[in-house]
Symmetry: C2
Subunit: 177 residues, 2 copies
């Protein structure tokens, strides 16, 4: 077959690249919820928690892979707080396309990361009627954070909550050995 | 809890952003294969084709969403070939981070897109022993292309094959009404 020249078009339009990740994430959530429902036919609590843990587990492994790349050439971190700042800034920017707006800590291993415009919630409507849908869009992200921290030597429990969309609060509790 | 200042770190390191999509894609493939196996306990041909079609379907919807954003401000396309060039250049760059290396067509609705370093295969080893694993990493991408074309008014059948990793050939056959 004859070859076609590809180099006569105008340059790329510069659309924000984050759409790919957002769309893919939406599909994964939809798949995990639809798939388990159709295959198992139940919607009880056990089922819901298994969906959340599937998404969390996928996020965990993605977080591990990403932080490995991101910190390959980075200097060592001073301490736990230094790691958390890195997560809130560099890591958050790579994954969620913006920095955390606010980081609070009790200096005893508990951190609250507030993102006022969380990337993976912005495609949902702001209406209150979608608030109950929000948790399923946060499980993957909690896993991402937990996976990243784990690769940096910090075992943690990560949870998230939404009060007003698309603002989101992640709580990280470091597990001391 | 007291607030921590986030603005004392050095700027972001500029790591390639594609890793997020690559990792997420690997997770989806692993999940779809693992999940169906554990839930249904069979590995027959029907099962394999249902996995491929799950991945293809996810790709299809992601492709539709992406092309909608990408072409929002674009002028109309002249013809089918013009659309295919857009897919090979702008669209491919957004999704797979590089342009198609080579586009061939018989000018009767069949197109062969060759990508010599296909993004979603580069994480697999180059060894021949992984060649049989390649198809499951292509189903999502075939769907992405089919979804994008469908949104531009072209119904198609999209298949892909690998002969030498990570080089990949996509064949698009436009379905005339």
């Amino acid at each position: 077959m004859p070859e076609v020249s590809l180099f006569t078009l105008v340059p790329s339009t510069g659309m924000a690249d984050d759409a790919l990740f957002e769309f893919l994430h939406m599909e994964i959530v939809a798949h995990v919820y639809r798939d388990l429902q159709s295959l198992k036919g139940d919607t009880d609590t056990k089922d819901r928690s298994s969906r959340v843990s599937i998404l969390e587990g996928m996020g965990y492994r993605v977080g591990q892979g990403l932080i490995e790349r991101l910190t390959r050439d980075s200097p060592c971190f001073k301490d736990e707080l230094d790691i958390m700042k890195f997560i809130c800034k560099d890591f958050w920017t790579k994954v969620f396309r913006r920095q955390v707006d606010n980081l609070r800590t009790n200096h005893q291993g508990t951190y609250v990361l507030q993102d006022n415009k969380f990337n993976l919630l912005t495609q949902l409507s702001n209406g209150k009627q979608y608030l109950d849908q929000a948790p399923k869009y946060l499980a993957f992200s909690c896993g991402v954070v937990r996976g990243a921290l784990s690769n940096l030597g910090l075992e943690s429990v990560v949870t998230a909550e939404v009060s007003v969309m698309p603002s989101c609060k992640f709580q990280v509790v470091i597990q001391k050995l």
